[in-house]
């Protein structure tokens, strides 16, 4: 493992960049099929209504229109399934209402799919959609958790009384209650985790085609996990066998969780293409993306922490209400449960932890994973609470954390997870150093001299990535395995194709995975290509989310390479007339141990495909596949520090410094890892200072475009200080952990803690996200009476 050149540990420039930089990327909307028609999805303009009837005749008569389909036409086609069954405290299964791809009888959110209009051109389809006459009979809507749980609230589904989907718990309630009885201090907090719109810059798109010659469907779609879409669309919705349904996710312009779910539009398009026998293309406009891409977060929580007289944590009790939106999206139900409640030990030794989560249906866009998915929500709550405890006990914010760190590994938390390895002091020290924490008071004074309020905030956190193993997640309700596949094909002349079931939509897998393979096999980096995103080319895959791709998918590739080397040793032994046990492999050469007799991987590969002089009984060819099902999650951890300056006159918060000290396990490509951290930090800062998805009480989306939903722009952000301290994951051979979500998990509480730190002298002790200038200004005014 070289660390320089193009091997593991080197900042190799990305293979994918040339095509993206020259305009030759191939995104879904760039694809056009001969004879294609255009579909326009007509969406509900109201949040909750009975559909009295739909008159499509005027639309059908409009120029260029080929078809208009509504829920009635698709009746009998399976609904959109959800991927995780949660059980409530009392053992009952969650309420799992039907989710017809096209609304049937009722619409349940602004954006719900009502009809598809198919025409010769995009414009014709869109214009004809205006002519579809839908008789909406308005019903009262519930657009928030508070509204959903109110007495006498409107019901999103008749079968979900009180709009409750499930009432779940994790941890030992009795032990946690007992911890509070013995506590010297109890500190409590109420927090809201603001709802976000993911906003990948590429809007979703799809093209479906049916080939009558082969009875095969092909769907090009903007997905993070093409095989998962094939599984859900094929097996659950349309009833198509896998070999007749090909899903291609070509270049995808960012996902952040919003391109995990199997969406209704994918089913509608594929079904429509089958009905019409023509390819049908659909591209989501941004205005529709706001009301149809799954949203993220949206929790209301209350929590209390029990401490002894010295500030040691004794127990933590968390009560959360989560908004799931109008239907259960693919991973909606596990995000606020198994990706949230089990994080509450954080990096701390708290011996008793209990978390209960009640999830609600509302007349809003379905909520699903968004960069971090559950873990940012947990980390925000915990790190706000720890800061509050330090303040109330008069303790130093750093010392209270240090006092409670886990230091012995493996560490079994009281909420299911077992941390394999970590060094939380090391990342804390690194962050304090890199952010010049010690010098902060001087900077505060300097700001004060200019009439500004300066604050610094910290968060120390863990995350859990690469969710696994399959048997465990299955016992917790997952309806899929969470392994990954990797195939390595050494071609006769020694170049290599690598097939991965993960999907790269910005993460740089084509480069990182090629580094691993070229390093292990000793072949030229340029001789290795990574193939992903096509169910017809890849054996199988679970896709990319939860920072799993390197830890799970990379490991599968690693294991496949090992199998290739193993087979190569047998061929080499035959060629070198030595015994297999004596063959060593290094830098692309098979050598008889202790001699200079060797043969190259290229010769071995050629022999494998031209097996004239070949070991008896050995299959020709040099291609291996491995499926890897991890033994455990991986546990990246770190410390993030934010420094802000607040203008007390305007409430404006300027983010002056952001420092990350992270342990993400072994780093394959430092350049790419830094980029992942930057992106996650920007996303987390967006949540902390800018982004908020707002619904009106009637269920209309108030923040439905870039004009009213604030996205972080270049001028809103500083440069980031990125620092690493590495401990290796103990249960995968590369020692890798995951990095894609770290920033959005760690930084939001650090930013808000910094804002509160700045405002404390004015008597402000609480701040909600996003800390906009308006909100900060109001808090200052209120505190000043």
């Amino acid at each position: 493992m070289s660390g320089n050149g193009t091997g593991i540990g080197a900042s190799v420039k990305r293979k994918e960049d040339t095509r993206f930089l020259t305009g030759r990327g191939r995104y879904t909307d760039d694809i056009n099929l001969p004879g294609q028609l255009y579909g326009h999805i007509l969406r509900s303009p109201v949040a909750h209504a009975d559909i009295g009837g739909i008159d499509t005749s005027a639309a059908m008569a409009a120029p260029g229109v080929h078809a208009v389909f509504t829920g009635k036409d698709m009746e009998g086609v399976g609904g959109i399934p959800t991927g995780w069954l949660i059980h409530s405290k009392d053992g009952s299964p969650m309420v799992e209402p039907a989710h017809p791809a096209l609304a049937l009888g009722k619409v349940r959110y602004v954006g719900d799919c009502v009809a598809i209009v198919v025409a010769e051109t995009r414009e014709q389809a869109k214009e004809a959609a205006n002519l579809v006459d839908v008789d909406y009979r308005d019903l009262p809507a519930v657009a928030s958790i508070e509204a959903a749980e109110a007495n006498g609230a409107a019901q999103v589904f008749d079968e979900a009384p009180g709009n409750v989907c499930y009432d779940w718990e994790v941890g030992d309630r009795a032990a946690t209650d007992a911890a509070f009885e013995n506590a010297a201090h109890v500190v409590s907090i109420d927090v809201v985790n603001n709802r976000l719109v993911p906003n990948a810059i590429e809007p979703r798109a799809a093209i479906a085609n049916f080939d009558p010659a082969t009875s095969e469907y092909t769907l090009y779609t903007t997905s993070q996990n093409p095989h998962l879409v094939r599984l859900l669309l094929g097996a659950f919705v349309l009833g198509l066998p896998e070999h007749k349904l090909r899903i291609v996710a070509p270049d995808v312009g960012g996902g952040f969780g919003s391109k995990i779910p199997h969406y209704a539009e994918e089913a509608i398009l594929t079904w429509t293409a089958g009905r019409l026998g023509r390819p049908v293309k659909w591209t989501c406009e941004r205005i529709d993306a706001f009301k149809s891409d799954t949203h993220g977060r949206d929790h209301i929580s209350t929590a209390k922490l029990a401490l002894d007289a010295d500030g040691k944590f004794l127990g933590l009790h968390v009560t959360t209400k989560a908004n799931l939106g109008a239907y259960l999206s693919t991973f909606a139900t596990c995000v606020p449960t198994y990706l949230y409640g089990i994080l509450f030990a954080g990096p701390y030794t708290t011996p008793a932890v209990y978390c209960e989560v009640k999830s609600f249906f509302t007349n809003t866009v379905p909520v699903d994973a968004l960069r971090g998915a559950g873990r940012p929500e947990a980390t925000y709550l915990l790190e706000r609470l720890v800061d509050k405890a330090a303040h109330e006990l008069g303790m130093d914010r750093v010392e209270i954390r240090r006092k409670n760190f886990v230091r012995e590994f493996p560490y079994q938390t009281p909420v299911a997870l077992q941390y394999d390895q970590g060094d939380y002091d090391a990342t804390l020290d690194l962050a304090l150093d890199a952010s010049d924490w010690a010098g902060f008071e001087a900077r505060r004074a300097e700001s004060a001299a200019r009439g500004k309020l300066r604050g610094i905030g910290i968060s120390t956190f863990i995350e859990a990535c690469g969710i696994a193993p399959s048997a465990v997640v299955g016992s917790l309700g997952a309806r899929a395995g969470l392994y990954e596949s990797g195939s390595v094909r050494v071609h006769p002349t020694g170049s290599v194709s690598v097939f991965t079931g993960t999907h790269s939509h910005g993460q740089g897998h084509e480069t990182t995975f090629a580094q691993i393979v070229s390093d292990m096999l000793g072949v030229d980096f340029d001789a290795v290509d990574v193939v992903h995103g096509d169910s017809a080319k890849i054996p199988f895959g679970m896709g990319t989310y939860g920072s799993r791709s390197l830890a799970v998918g990379g490991t599968a590739i690693y294991l496949a390479v090992e199998k290739v080397i193993e087979k190569g040793r047998k061929i080499a032994a035959h060629l070198l007339e030595a015994s297999v046990e004596d063959i060593e492999f290094e830098n692309g050469s098979f050598t008889v141990a202790g001699t200079d007799r060797s043969t190259s991987l290229g010769e071995v590969a050629l022999t494998a495909y031209v097996p004239h002089n070949y070991p008896e009984g050995l299959e020709p060819g040099l291609e291996e596949t491995a499926f890897y099902d991890p033994l455990n999650f991986t546990f990246p951890a770190g410390t993030h520090v934010a420094e802000v300056e607040v203008d007390p006159e305007t409430g404006e918060v300027e983010l002056v410094a952001v420092t990350g000290a992270d342990d993400v396990g072994r780093v394959i490509n430092p350049m790419i890892v830094a980029g992942q951290l930057h992106g996650g930090l920007a996303h987390g800062i967006g949540q902390a200072l800018m982004e908020e998805c707002v619904y009106q009480d009637d269920g209309q989306l108030a923040t439905g475009s870039y004009l009213d939903y604030t996205m972080p722009r270049a001028a809103d952000l500083p440069n980031f200080s990125i620092n690493h301290n590495t401990t290796l994951c103990t249960h995968n051979p590369l020692g890798v952990k995951g990095v894609g979500e770290v920033g959005s998990i760690g930084i939001p509480p650090a930013v808000i803690n910094a804002v509160i730190d700045a405002l404390r002298p004015l008597g402000v002790n609480d701040m909600a996200m996003p800390a906009t200038s308006q909100r900060v200004w109001q808090a200052i005014r209120q505190a000043q009476g």
Binding site: T18, A200, E202, D251, G506, H678, S705
Partner: protein, 157 residues
């Protein structure tokens, strides 16, 4: 329906459009130049930036007929054969792109900045990119790339 003719990446191209056809639609759909992207419908994201007569323009906010007779450069026209333009090279070198979707607009916008200001400060770059959204990179490396690209473009020439 009007016919428009313009020079696109050095070649004369014509096509029949509707009065309402946007320049980006003409480029993507009539000419098949899919390097120019569409990320929004409110002129906010900048994924669609091209050069019209040498300056950066959001091609989603310009009608094809408005560009009639103009000299248009898209991301496909920036490199010199296999040799990347210095700004493209700087984005590659400094990892100024991840998913690549915002990238064509970012690069075209950055080239325009560099043409006006050969050595922009970090602050100037951040302010200039006001009209370009990126969800992947956090802008850190884009800013680095734009500054390096501007310098490589001639440091003032």
């Amino acid at each position: 329906m009007p016919t428009v003719t313009m020079t696109v990446n050095g070649m004369e191209r014509s096509g029949t459009v509707e009065g309402r056809t946007l320049l980006v639609e003409f480029l993507r759909e009539n000419l098949g130049l899919t390097g120019t992207h569409v990320g929004c419908d409110t002129s906010q994201c900048g994924a669609c930036v091209v050069h019209v007569n040498g300056t950066s323009v959001k091609s989603c906010t310009c009608l094809a007929v408005q560009a009639d007779g103009a000299d248009v450069t898209t991301i496909e026209g920036l490199a010199n054969g296999a040799e990347l333009h210095p700004m493209q090279e700087a984005f590659r070198e400094h990892h100024g792109l991840q998913c690549g979707f915002c990238t064509p607009g970012m690069v075209m916008s950055a080239v325009d900045l560099a043409n006006r200001n050969p050595d922009p400060s970090e602050h100037e770059v951040r302010e200039w990119l006001e009209g370009n959204l990126c969800r992947c990179t956090g802008y850190h490396n884009i800013v680095k790339a734009v500054r390096a690209g501007a310098q490589a473009m001639g440091g003032g020439s």
